[in-house]
């Protein structure tokens, strides 16, 4: 097992499992088996790196006062030239390949930890080759997929949806969040897996959990996993959102600024689609499972926002002076002369006053991480 125990691990706490598989020795390279090579799949370039970035975020940035990080299980199978996050590498005892046996052990350990309190939080991220044929499935191939020692072909794979469903029971962490970042296979490859059984899954139990969204990302091409040493489109979007890009203000579910599961759903859906489309790819994010609002990340203070206001028409001279009033309350801040206006301040609603005759006003909503607006003068 590769469990990074957190000193003073809290109860209730957050228990996490992060898996990233780039290296598939039995599919590709000198150790490839006949069965493995037959699938025509090659190792990925950045799934392990992506997973290590998520693990590092959990170790260094994750904040949840109600359930601080208590344990983190990390299994990484990097490709030959792929580096993993140095802080995560330093925290691990050595290589921790994501084999079936290792994933099974960590999954059992995760479930045991999550069962210690219903107030625990469960966090799971899995990246690698995916072989799902539908929008509701996610079977991810593990490091030892196609190992000739396995009794069935799908033994070296994890059925993410099956494990997700198996973690739904009454006496377990009632707040869970799952991410499957998988590369979808060509139809002729995917069809060959359809009736295969034996992927790692969990028995279904009685009861439900309060919230357990599963975000399923499936790229159409391996290039969605980026260049060697890079990170996947999905993991980039996820970390961007969790670092504040998806932050929302306090509400009835969380008294602090936070990233909610609902917000994460729309952000991942839109951002992944846009980034993939810009690269000429297609990548969709589907969400499954009970989706009661849960704060996935909390912030100790309202995030600051970079506010930029452009003047239209461009080059209008002389540009007027401007004042920014938080909640329209005087006296406000006189902005430095010159356009575009730049200001860094707390997230929120501002009244921008252009000091011209007649006075012009504009309400700005400054959402993290940045806000760009335009105002027109005659």
């Amino acid at each position: 097992m590769a469990v990074i125990q957190i000193p003073n691990g809290a109860t209730p706490g957050t228990h996490a499992l992060v898996i990233g598989v780039s290296d598939y020795p039995f599919l590709d390279g000198p150790d490839a088996t006949e069965d493995g090579a037959d699938f025509g799949l090659s190792s990925l370039t950045s799934a392990a790196r992506s997973a290590s970035e998520v693990a590092n975020w959990l170790l260094t940035e994750y904040r949840n006062p109600a359930a601080p990080l208590a344990s983190l299980r990390v299994l990484l199978s990097p490709a030959r030239n792929e580096s993993i996050h140095p802080a995560v590498a330093a925290a691990l005892p050595g290589p921790v390949p994501a084999t079936r046996a290792a994933v099974e052990a960590d999954l059992r350990s995760l479930r045991d930890a999550c069962r210690q309190s219903g107030d625990n939080v469960c966090f799971v991220y899995i990246a690698g080759h995916g072989i799902q044929l539908t929008k509701r499935g996610a079977v991810v191939l593990l490091h030892d997929f196609a190992d000739p020692g396995h009794l069935n072909k799908l033994h070296g794979a994890i059925d993410v949806v099956g494990c997700h469903d198996g973690m739904e029971e009454s006496e377990i962490a009632q707040s869970q969040v799952w991410f499957s970042d998988a590369c979808r296979q060509r139809p002729d490859v995917a069809r060959r897996f359809e009736r295969m059984e034996g992927a790692l899954t969990l028995d279904e139990r009685l009861g439900r959990v309060r919230a357990s969204p599963l975000y399923l990302a499936s790229s159409t091409r391996e290039s969605a996993f980026g260049e060697v040493g890079g990170t996947s489109i999905f993991s980039q979007a996820l970390l961007w959102a969790l670092r504040g890009g998806g932050a929302v203000g306090p509400d009835e579910h969380c008294p602090e600024w936070h990233v909610s599961t609902a917000r994460l759903g729309t952000i991942l859906f839109n951002r992944v689609k846009e980034v993939a489309a810009a690269a000429g790819e297609s990548q969709l994010v589907d969400v499954m499972g009970p989706q009661l609002e849960v704060a996935v990340q909390r912030f100790a203070a309202p995030p600051d926002v970079d506010i930029v206001v452009n003047l239209r028409p461009e080059g209008a001279a002389p540009g007027p002076a401007a004042r920014l009033l938080f909640n329209a309350a005087p006296p406000g801040v006189d902005l430095p002369l010159g356009w575009p206006v730049r200001f860094r301040g707390p997230a929120g609603l501002y009244l921008l006053k252009l000091l011209v005759e007649p006075e012009r006003m504009r309400i700005l909503r400054a959402d993290p991480p940045s806000c760009t607006e335009e105002v027109e003068v005659a």
Partner: protein
């Protein structure tokens, strides 16, 4: 002694949405955030709230399933009205032009695509962007059409509504050339407003934000037998969110009332999967029956396959495998970005 802090002056905020549906104009949720962007009120469009004067952000789940936002300044002792525009201002209900029935020759073309065949449907309108389809009576299976698109044969299920008169029974299929290659995209008729909301929530990834209105809308679509195709889409979405378990009667009605709609038995099988053995056997039979037919929605196909893969033992493994094989032949070549099932039949045929 410092002077007492003056009482904050309050004003009223009224939120409305311009949409030609009583249900939607009173059931679309809005959220008010104050200047610090903290939520201070949640309500339904058509209602008012009293707030301390200041700046507020009002966001609403619009009738197209997207979030719309307005920024307002509430002033003391005044009413500030926010009205969100109709997202479909140009959605004029048009008259059908010369219905083209299956077998008519030649079938019309639109842009880089041409229509090859129609099953259980007919065209009511053709223009440069695409086709509008209406159902053929009586429906015995999910209606679908075959297209030649960029040299490929593509088959798309059409979520038509045999319960309504034209144009509320129709849907459009347009050729979208904005991506790397042309694809077909289905749109419900402009007047199918509640169904369009359900569809919009799915398309924009807003299901979680709109889960309450989704539940009400789906119930409305079925209870009044208004739009079974829309109700099936809502049911699938609710199931995906773990919110369908208490709706057994509702799903039974969908299956009983609209036997041609393949996605209904799939939904019912999903509810029966965890039931007593007799009920579970019925669920499995429903699933095997449904697997013989084309689903309406991509998500209906996904659910059917997921259920077949995970059905609790004991079951007839040969029958299960045969059903799974048949559906895998659709799923492997399905366009996952399409809400209604759209399959590349030429690729499927060549594999």
């Amino acid at each position: 002694m410092s002077a007492p802090t003056p009482e904050p002056v309050a004003g009223e905020l009224h939120v409305a949405i311009d949409v030609r549906s009583d249900f939607l104009s009173n059931n679309l949720p809005y959220v008010v955030r104050d200047a610090a962007l903290a939520v201070v009120h949640r309500g339904m469009c058509g209602s008012s709230v009293t707030l301390p004067e200041g700046l507020y952000s009002v966001s609403v789940l619009s009738a197209d399933g997207e979030r719309a936002m307005e920024l307002v300044q509430v002033k003391g002792n005044e009413t500030t009205a926010v009205s969100f525009p109709d997202p479909y201002p140009s959605a004029v209900e048009v008259e059908g032009k010369g219905v083209t029935a299956p077998g008519d020759d030649p079938l019309p073309a639109a842009g880089p695509a041409s229509l090859l065949s129609m099953n259980g449907c007919a065209t009511s309108l053709v223009d440069a962007e695409g086709w509008e389809f209406v159902p053929a009576e009586p429906l015995e299976e999910v209606p679908w059409a075959g297209f030649l698109l960029d040299g490929r044969t593509v088959e798309m299920s059409l979520p038509l509504n045999p319960r309504a008169a034209y144009p509320l029974n129709s849907c459009r299929v347009d050729v979208d050339t904005s991506g790397s290659g042309p694809v077909l995209r289905m749109a419900f008729a402009p007047g199918r407003l509640v169904t369009r909301l359900v569809d919009g929530l799915v398309r924009h990834g807003s299901e979680t934000l709109g889960k309450d209105v989704l539940e009400k809308a789906t119930g409305l679509l079925l209870e009044k037998y208004a739009d079974p195709s829309g109700a099936a889409l809502g049911g699938l979405t609710l199931h995906r969110m773990g919110m369908l378990s208490g709706q057994r009667d509702w799903v039974e009605n969908l299956v009983r009332g609209f036997p041609w709609l393949t996605d209904g038995p799939v939904l019912l099988a999903a509810l029966l999967r965890g039931a007593e053995p007799d009920e579970r056997r019925r669920g499995f039979e429903l699933l095997l029956g449904a697997a013989q037919h084309r689903p309406m929605y991509t998500d209906g196909l996904s659910l059917a396959m997921d259920l077949l893969r995970r059905w609790p033992k004991p079951f007839d493994k040969d029958a299960r495998d045969a059903a799974l094989d048949r559906l895998a032949g659709l799923s492997a070549y399905a366009d996952w970005g399409s809400v209604s099932l759209c399959v590349d039949a030429s690729e499927r045929g060549s594999s």
